[in-house]
């Protein structure tokens, strides 16, 4: 068992006076999330610092063969603590912890080790998890807060989706991004007023967002359509993936990055699958099923908001699960598990047949569900044009970009042929 006894707890008293830092991953979602935490009395701050100094800090503190995301996030947090910007006796850190057989469940322990080795062992680290892995008296995810967080992810997914499909074609440069910014602040305001959360309001606002994007004048010339999948942090974090999305835009592509709600559904569904595969209590199954159904509703809101528009709708979780069945088992759940394979297949279905699969160098689950499944996907979709890119502190941008360019050349040729 991990050492619970010596863990520094985040207490109720700390909640009143401490600042809580947490690393960025999904730009849109996390900016809103920051507001959610604030509205519940947590003085949080999103860390967005990137660059070599952060990586160096990570390299110093974390075993260099550990995955890149651990290096980035731990580097980022320790770097912030050492920056002098914060009173380290009044600062806590927050990190998500997924649980499961992947190395990622260990990040939080590696962070504590790193803090200890930097002489900051007294900084409390809050684990954000839904598995009951660690508890803190001063930090509780209440049900209303959970609902707000899930609403955030839904709004975030929609904004990301629409921005991705609008930005490459917009006639007035920057308009799509401005619309995103507008909605980030609008949703934050709504949350502060305890609004924008009920089913009815969510439907209204999601629809309003879609309408807003529809108004942006676009010129939909054919472009190479690229889907990005991969290990969750590297896929989403521009810091970790060397600004992959920006690079793809500069290469005149349309980029699609699947949202995070499906990942949440996947993680909950895994518990159901475990019981189905190996046996387990019916009562437990039913409780988890309620949570699963609850989350599915949000997905429905999102899909419904896109109904009747020209925007590409993300496939539902149900659909993703269906199409992957002939390729890989539902028991494959560590890391991104079968979901990653499925996302590739779904992107291809939706016309994004050029795929970048981004993962940390040596990512164990991705040996299986990423690189391991490419061959099989190709036999089903001969047009699939997939490139796997590894990220780590030593990999250079020029090498990565060269490989992506190769993939794009093939994509361009196919586009011309159409």
């Amino acid at each position: 068992m991990a050492n619970e006894k010596n863990r520094i707890e985040f207490t109720k008293e700390m909640k009143k006076t401490y600042k809580i830092l947490f690393p960025n991953m999904l730009d849109i979602h996390f900016h809103i999330l920051q507001k959610v935490f604030k509205s519940y009395g947590y003085d949080v701050e999103l860390l967005t610092e990137s660059g070599q100094a952060v990586i160096d800090e990570g390299l110093r503190l974390v075993h260099n063969d550990t995955c890149y995301p651990a290096l980035c996030t731990i580097g980022q947090m320790v770097h912030a603590l050492k920056s002098g910007k914060y009173d380290i006796n009044k600062t806590a850190l927050m990190m998500s912890q997924t649980g499961g057989g992947c190395r990622a469940s260990n990040y939080i322990h590696l962070l504590r080790k790193a803090l200890k080795n930097s002489g900051m062992g007294n900084v409390p680290v809050i684990s954000v998890n839904l598995s009951g892995l660690e508890k803190n008296s001063g930090f509780k995810i209440t049900l209303p807060m959970l609902r707000r967080a899930i609403a955030t992810l839904t709004y975030g997914d929609l904004l990301m989706l629409l921005d991705n499909q609008t930005k490459p074609y917009e006639i007035n440069k920057g308009e799509s991004r401005r619309t995103v910014e507008k909605w980030i602040s609008k949703i934050s305001d709504l949350f502060e007023k305890k609004r924008g959360i009920s089913a009815k309001e969510m439907k209204t606002y999601l629809k309003a967002i879609v309408e807003d994007f529809k108004k942006i004048p676009v010129n939909r010339v054919p472009k190479v359509k690229v889907g990005v999948v991969g290990e969750i942090y590297v896929k989403y974090s521009a810091f970790a993936n060397n600004d992959l999305e920006k690079f793809l835009y500069e290469q005149d592509c349309e980029v699609m990055v699947p949202g995070i709600m499906q990942f949440m559904l996947f993680k909950v569904d895994n518990r159901l699958e475990d019981i189905k595969l190996y046996g387990g209590s019916k009562a437990k199954y039913n409780v988890i099923k309620i949570l699963f159904d609850y989350l599915t509703v949000f997905e429905t809101y999102l899909v419904e908001a896109l109904e009747g528009t020209d925007f590409v709708k993300p496939g539902t979780y149900r659909h993703l699960k269906k199409i992957v069945k002939p390729v890989i088992g539902y028991g494959c759940k560590m890391g991104e598990g079968w979901l990653l394979t499925s996302e590739v297949m779904e992107l291809i279905e939706n016309g994004y047949e050029n795929i970048v699969c981004a993962q940390p160098f040596g990512c164990l689950p991705n040996h299986i569900v990423g690189k391991g499944m490419v061959r099989k996907i190709r036999t089903m979709h001969p047009d699939a044009n997939i490139v796997a890119i590894d990220y780590d502190p030593g990999a250079t941008k020029v090498n990565q970009e060269n490989r992506i360019k190769l993939m794009l050349s093939v994509g361009k040729e196919k586009l011309m042929g159409k």
């Binding site: 063969d65 322990h109 560590m334 040996h367 299986i368 001969p382």
Partner: protein
């Protein structure tokens, strides 16, 4: 108008000019030594000279180093693999597959059928650069390698993943006296294996194969190796160097330029210099002078004392040979430092002859050798002693700084660091094969950029903005340098940057230091690489304190060996060959394969005058004909025998026969499945221990080249089963393992858990065999029978649930029985070791490390050294669940922590843990630190051995001998 394609590769520049009919008018090929713009403008000027009437040309750039350059100049760019494809389609439309090797890239293009292009990932080493590197190592010109290779008689297996690995395989072979002819051919074969394993990824290479690029153009033997491995006769067209340039010239994306203007523009093009940089090494000339004064390299040469007694120390390192003679006062009277050119024996002979010549009245009373070549030198010249290099270095360092508490030695090939506690070596760090960016790395780089090493490193001393290259292995460094050059870094800044990166590599990759104080207060640095002022300065700057560099920094190993000999001197005369004996000294080398066991070691038999023999390359004592009647206490052997006792069983009543691949978790669960299936009347077979041959059989279907070797090898086992007569292959997915109550959870690692999925998706031969890869949960004993019953019925028709329940019951008890036997036997060995006061090594890792192809016979090596060997799973049951600093959630890994805990608490310094770590094992990045932490919390030594396709047993021996030396000193 002329259409020009310019191919800016990693090492060369190529251009092809076409007329309107796409006929070639002009081609040129040149090494650019990273002076890309200079060379490119020269090339254009030459072109302008040839085509005097052409004022304008239409241009497209391609090549791995051309991207940034083209972008900044506003020239259209075409990705090079794509360009190749265009060219091949035009020139050789019948082609099925193209294999193109460049300076640093390897590519395969599948043209016919589903078109695909593959490039080596960021880990796989470059091929042209790799061959160059190997040539440097062998002290040959690359062209000679091709010639020599023709005369080869045998092929050694050399790691095919990346250059650095291959290097650490070749070095020991060289030191054992393997023939260069064979090595050259083996290197080519390694390139072939790397290309096939890394790029084909399950797709067969067949039909009309075309070879392109520099290495395949220049080396006929490399082409022959490819032909042989692929079973084809490939074609290397006349213009094989120019396909990329030709493709770029054909491209639609062209832009027209005025030729003179463009030439000028390229010549004047200087990049912006916005690369990442570090602080300069020296801020001023004065700072450098102060530094030089502090680290003077001048040392006095003494003469023989009245007694004429002398002690000789020889350090036969990986790339250099160091030899020293000292007098009674421990002063150096003579020394040599030479590049060993692959064979140290003649150098030592010459050294000894010079000694005898220079000091006719010398009385050599002791001679000791150390380093990689310790044994062969000791045997060849009848030296008195051999000493493990760590001890030799410590002995020497102590002479310079009696308070020394940390020694770091960066040599040509390896980094060695050790901590000293209580006058004994306490902790050793050796560079794992993957991060060895050391001296020879700097040298190779200097060579590639057209400088000799001294000139090159001097250039870095006053660099204003050294390139920040981070800490990574050579292969990554190549592309980092490429990027820096693209960003406009000059040679000075690259040189300084490389020196800094060597230091960072040592500090953060090898030692994993967190701050300077963690190293020690009295640091002695040595080794040839520290003779380089830039490296030394970078080291001081990085750790923020001054260090001691002995004036004889490069000779420390030899000096230490001499001192060691002096310490042990008890008044006898040295047995070293006399001047007269040296005259008739001869040395011949022959390579043979030992068939003593399934390791099939490649032995090199060195024969000296009078038929004296020395055998190298052996992993055990068998080929040495040492009669050893006493049975070794080796729990690996016991486990293997126990596993072998579950014999292949015929089926009853026409029930199906199940085939099980012997790999990963099957190494532990076989007793379970064997009992389960035989109880049901099924037949069962397994594939037995792995061999290199089995690995190669499945190599072409491995989709991820960075996964661990134990996983890769499974592909071969599956192929073996496909060929066999089994009715079904049973290899289930298992997220969870048995819960032994030692951790918070009981997972398998993702690779063990889901590798059956990878097998199912990639091994095409499985279409003809029933393959069962269902998810199975043996951790839920109660539910298991019901669940497996469904799976069996689905695959084999109706089977009674009650029978399955019974079989499951028997399977669980057999599994428990199996584990119990191991635990009992382990305890028996422990007791026996205690009684006889023998050292014990707990060889820890995973159940599948039992496979001799995976552990490379390290178990035998340990036992031959006189230790009793037990395993982590034989003692983990003696420890209660306890708090760890990491999440303890994998069954196999919980045992590691428990074993470490047991050893730490035992208080018995004769029991030590050695952890085997498969290269690429992500989980072990976490477990190794934790195991080390548990051991070190009780001042115990942690030893880690990284294993891969090939393992450098020389380095393993050093670790083990140092470990034994450290524990004996108590």
């Amino acid at each position: 108008m002329i259409r020009l394609g310019l191919d800016v590769g990693s090492t060369t520049l190529k251009c092809t000019a076409l007329n309107e009919k796409s006929e070639v008018l002009f081609s040129k090929y040149e090494r650019h030594y990273s002076r890309i713009t200079e060379k490119a403008s020269e090339m254009l000027r030459e072109l302008a000279g040839v085509f005097k009437d052409e004022k304008e040309i239409s241009l497209c750039v391609s090549g791995s180093a051309g991207m940034g350059f083209a972008e900044k100049m506003g020239i259209p760019f075409m990705q090079e693999v794509y360009a190749t494809r265009l060219a091949v389609k035009k020139l050789l439309p019948e082609t099925d597959t193209v294999i193109e090797l460049g300076g640093e890239d390897a590519k395969i293009l599948f043209i016919s059928g589903a078109q695909e292009v593959r490039m080596n990932g960021s880990c796989a080493g470059g091929t042209g650069a790799f061959i160059d590197q190997m040539a440097t190592l062998l002290n040959l010109e690359p062209d000679n390698m091709n010639e020599l290779s023709k005369a080869h008689t045998k092929i050694y297996s050399i790691a095919s993943r990346c250059g650095v690995f291959a290097k650490s395989d070749i070095q020991p072979l060289l030191n054992q006296g393997a023939k260069k002819e064979d090595l050259c051919a083996s290197i080519f074969m390694a390139v072939v294996n790397q290309t096939i394993a890394g790029l084909a990824q399950g797709r067969e290479i067949e039909g009309k194969v075309v070879y392109l690029g520099g290495p395949l153009t220049f080396f006929s033997e490399l082409r022959r190796s490819f032909d042989e491995a692929l079973g084809v006769t490939g074609l290397c067209p006349d213009n094989s160097l120019y396909f990329v340039a030709y493709g770029a010239a054909l491209s639609d994306e062209h832009k027209v330029f005025n030729l003179t203007e463009l030439t000028e523009k390229i010549r004047n093009y200087s990049a912006e210099g916005n690369y990442k940089s570090c602080e300069p090494l020296f801020k001023s000339e004065e700072e450098y002078e102060e530094f030089k004064a502090r680290h003077s390299l001048v040392y006095p040469i003494a003469g023989l004392t009245a007694s004429k007694k002398a002690y000789i120390g020889i350090d036969s390192g990986s790339t250099t040979l160091k030899a020293v003679a000292i007098n009674e006062n421990e002063e150096i009277i003579y020394s040599e430092y030479m590049s060993n050119s692959g064979n140290p024996v003649p150098l030592v002979k010459a050294f000894l002859q010079r000694i005898y010549e220079k000091f006719p009245d010398i009385n050599i009373v002791s001679a000791a050798s150390t380093g990689y070549g310790e044994e062969i030198i000791k045997n060849a010249f009848h030296l008195d002693l051999g000493v493990v290099e760590t001890i030799a270095h410590f002995t020497a360092a102590e002479k310079y700084d009696p308070e020394v508490d940390f020694i770091i030695d960066i040599g040509g090939q390896d980094i060695k660091c050790f901590k000293i506690r209580n006058k004994a070596i306490d902790n050793i760090f050796l560079n794992e094969a993957c991060s060895s960016g050391c001296g020879s790395f700097l040298q190779t780089f200097a060579g590639a950029l057209g400088y000799d090493i001294e000139e090159f490193s001097k250039k870095g001393i006053f660099a204003e903005r050294p390139v920040d290259l981070g800490s990574r292995c050579t292969v990554f460094m190549n592309s980092s340098v490429k990027q820096a050059q693209k960003d406009g870094a000059g040679i000075e800044n690259i040189s300084a940057g490389l020196s800094i990166s060597v230091v960072k590599n040592a500090l953060y990759k090898v030692i994993r230091a967190q701050n300077a104080d963690a190293l020690g207060k009295n640091i002695v640095v040595q080794g040839g690489t520290f003779l380089n002022d830039a490296v030394l300065r970078a080291f001081e700057k990085e750790i923020g304190r001054t260090v001691t560099r002995p004036a004889i920094s490069g000779l420390m190993g030899a000096f230490g060996a001499a001192l060691y000999g002096k310490k042990r001197y008890k008044g006898e005369k040295s047995s070293v060959l006399t001047a007269k004996e040296l005259e008739s000294f001869t040395h011949e080398v022959k390579a043979i394969t030992c068939h003593g066991c399934q390791n099939h070691c490649r032995l090199t038999v060195n024969t000296f005058d009078n038929g004296r023999k020395f055998i190298g390359g052996n992993r055990c004592e068998k080929p040495l004909n040492i009669k050893n009647t006493e049975k070794k206490l080796n729990l690996f052997e016991f486990k293997k025998e126990l596993l072998a006792s579950y014999k292949d069983t015929e089926s009853k009543n026409n029930k199906p026969t199940i085939g099980i691949p012997m790999g990963l978790n099957m190494y532990e669960l076989y007793p379970f499945w064997h009992t389960f299936f035989t109880s049901l009347g099924f037949g069962i077979k397994n594939t037995g221990d792995s061999t290199r041959k089995i690995y190669l059989k499945g190599q072409h279907t491995i989709p991820s080249d960075t996964v661990c070797y134990p996983a890769k090898i499974l592909h071969g086992h599956i192929e073996k089963l496909i060929e066999s007569d089994v009715d079904a292959i049973f290899y289930p997915c298992m997220s969870y393992n048995i819960d032994e109550g030692l951790g918070d959870n009981h997972y398998n690692c993702p690779v063990v858990a889901y590798y059956p999925e990878v097998i199912g998706a990639n091994v095409t031969g499985l279409e003809s065999k029933k393959f069962i890869k269902d998810y199975v949960g043996i951790h839920r004993r109660h539910d298991f029978p019901k669940k497996i019953h469904e799976i069996l019925c689905r695959n084999f028709g109706k089977i009674k649930l009650i029978d399955v329940k019974n079989a499951a019951f028997k399977a669980y008890s057999e599994y428990e029985n199996y584990m119990k036997k191991i635990r009992l036997e382990g305890k028996k060995y422990l007791k026996c070791a205690n009684e006889k006061n023998l050292p014990v090594i707990v060889l820890s890792g995973r159940p599948y490390h039992l496979d001799p192809e995976i552990n490379h016979g390290i178990d035998k090596l340990i036992c031959d050294a006189g230790a009793v060997l037990i395993t982590e799973d034989s003692i983990s049951d003696m420890v209660e669940k306890f708090p760890t600093t990491v999440l303890n959630q994998w069954t196999y890994h919980s045992r590691l922590y428990a074993a470490a805990k047991y050893i730490a608490e035992s208080g018995n310094k004769r029991i030590n843990l050695v952890q085997l770590v498969s290269f690429g094992c992500g989980v072990d990045a976490i477990t190794t630190d934790e195991v080390r932490g548990i051991l070190e919390s009780k001042q115990r030594i942690y030893t880690q051995i990284k294993i891969d396709e090939i393992t450098n047993l020389g380095a393993v021996k050093i670790r083990l001998r140092s470990l034994f030396a450290a524990t004996e000193n108590d």
